[in-house]
């Protein structure tokens, strides 16, 4: 396989973008990346998107989006894996370049969640319809069950959950593209409206519009497009049982561990080598479970990692310097690519007040459903 680099990135702000349509969001992010690299053609396009059909009644996003950026004729494919759609679009693009089949591939993600659809019902399509949704569960409800099981098994508290939100909003306050670039106190988080006990509103990522795109090429051609390419050192993907009830341990995200092991093996590095990480904090409990499963923090320390500052900017392993899904926003199909862009900018030293000094290796972990899909990428500054 050929070595692969990211040479350009584009991203819209995340938020309630009422003036922007699904196609317009995509075009803005894609054209920013294409312009940055100064390319006049693409060999392929991958569009990560969870549910254009349910959110805005639009499927068949491959050709639609290629056409919107003047690239009709180029092979263009929509990739769906619920909230992991963006990360898996990147992985698909990576293999297309690594295999030698293509030299210039756009990996993107887009979601338009604020256009009238009931987001709770649409997001629930990523759970098991027949065994879970039928009985009245919601996505926050599934993660609430994980949280309650974690509390029962490890003594994790509502305060531990709340510190994850406080920490990520502190980071997000430094991110001009974040949907909620503002800080919250511990008391505000702990007194926010209950959504699914023990999760409250400020433990949950918001409903967002947004798009993100990165351009991939073989590493040995990267200097044509940028002085500072970032290498994709490893990729790993895994699945787990779809229904939470079918997992041996509801507190443990085994797909996250398995996808991470595969990415670490491919990259030839371990969790201790990682300088900065973006993990899938769709709910506060998921950041705790993910940093455990990724091996970034020992299980005994994971619940307290945000409170103790271990995962904050300036801590041993800063997690979600972008503000995470919680503060930056979570346009589900775009999230996986937005995570990659945060790591790409960190490794290029472009993160401003969020910069992790000297970051050389970064990890991004993107998850679908209640953990039925997970994809991990490890990037390297070269």
């Amino acid at each position: 396989m050929r070595e692969v680099a990211i040479v350009a990135a584009g991203m819209t702000p995340f938020g309630e973008l009422w003036e922007m349509s699904l196609r317009r969001l995509f075009a803005e992010a894609a054209l920013e990346a294409i312009t940055m690299a100064g390319v006049d053609h693409l060999d392929a396009i991958y569009v990560g998107n969870m549910s254009g059909g349910c959110f805005v009644g639009q499927e068949h996003l491959g050709p639609l989006m290629a056409d919107q950026i003047g690239m009709a004729g180029v092979p263009s494919t929509r990739v769906e894996s619920a909230c992991a759609s963006g990360g898996i679009a990147l992985r698909t693009a990576f293999f297309e370049v690594a295999s030698g089949a293509s030299d210039l591939v756009l990996a993107s993600g887009v979601e338009k969640m604020n256009d009238g659809a009931d987001a709770t019902n649409v997001l629930a399509t990523a759970a098991d319809q027949e065994l879970e949704v039928y009985h009245g569960i919601t996505f926050p409800g599934l993660y609430a069950m994980i949280a309650r099981a974690h509390m029962e098994a490890y003594g994790t508290t509502e305060e531990d959950l709340s510190w994850v939100s406080v920490k990520n909003h502190r980071h997000g306050a430094l991110n001009p593209k974040a949907q909620f670039p503002l800080e919250f106190t511990l008391e505000q988080v702990m007194n926010s409206t209950p959504v699914a006990e023990p999760l409250r509103l400020l433990h949950c990522s918001p409903v967002s519009d947004g798009a993100a795109a990165v351009l991939l090429c073989p590493l040995d051609q990267a200097k044509k497009y940028t002085d500072q390419p970032i290498k994709i050192l490893g990729t790993g993907q895994a699945t787990s049982a779809m229904a939470l009830a079918d997992r041996k341990d509801p507190t443990f995200l085994d797909s996250v561990q398995l996808s991470a092991e595969r990415a670490y093996t491919m990259a030839g590095v371990g969790p201790d080598d990682i300088d900065v990480a973006e993990v899938h904090d769709c709910f506060a409990i998921s950041e705790i479970c993910c940093i455990e499963a990724l091996g970034l923090v020992e299980r005994s320390q994971a619940a307290r990692a945000a409170a103790s500052g271990l995962t904050a900017l300036g801590g041993r392993i800063p997690v979600n310097t972008s503000g995470g899904l919680k503060a930056k926003g979570h346009p589900v199909g775009a999230t996986g690519i937005a995570q990659i862009i945060e790591i790409y900018e960190q490794l290029r030293g472009e993160s401003g007040r969020r910069q992790v000094q000297g970051a050389r290796l970064g990890l991004a972990q993107n998850m679908g459903g209640s953990g039925a899909s997970s994809v991990v990428h490890i990037l390297e500054r070269i």
Partner: protein
């Protein structure tokens, strides 16, 4: 949702029919053509007991459309004595009293009325057992 979808699910959803894998003994609910535990293809039918224990739970405050008027309600992953785990609402109790370790009985109930078609959707809900209530 079209009605054949509910009809197909009648044996498992309304009669609690499961399958015990002849290879590894795992009880799969609903039955599948291949055991996710050992990939065995042979199994024997087993009907689940109508008692269970709660593994984990939550109380839904922000509910899907079809359940809007029921919120807040408790919902849990329960495990039957056969080892089958599945999701069920927990009713006839204070939702905030529901938690891991609670013993429940499974009772045949209306789950919801489908908004678009008006189809009545049945299944099992969990009710805390009298002995559990006496303990607590």
């Amino acid at each position: 949702m079209p009605s054949p979808r509910y009809w197909r699910e009648v044996p498992s959803r309304l009669r609690l029919e499961a399958a015990r894998c002849s290879g590894c003994g795992k009880v799969n609910y609903p039955p599948r053509p291949i055991c996710p535990g050992c990939r065995g293809k042979e199994s024997e039918p087993v009907t689940l007991s109508k008692t269970a224990t709660i593994i984990t739970s939550t109380v839904i405050h922000i509910a899907p459309d079809d359940f809007l008027f029921e919120a807040p309600y408790a919902i849990a992953i329960v495990e039957t004595p056969e080892g089958a785990r599945f999701m069920a609402q927990v009713v006839e109790c204070d939702p905030s009293s529901v938690g891991p370790g609670m013993d429940v009985s499974l009772e045949f109930r209306l789950i919801r009325k489908e908004a678009r078609s008006g189809i009545l959707c049945y299944g099992f809900k969990a009710v805390p057992t009298a002995s559990w209530e006496a303990q607590s």
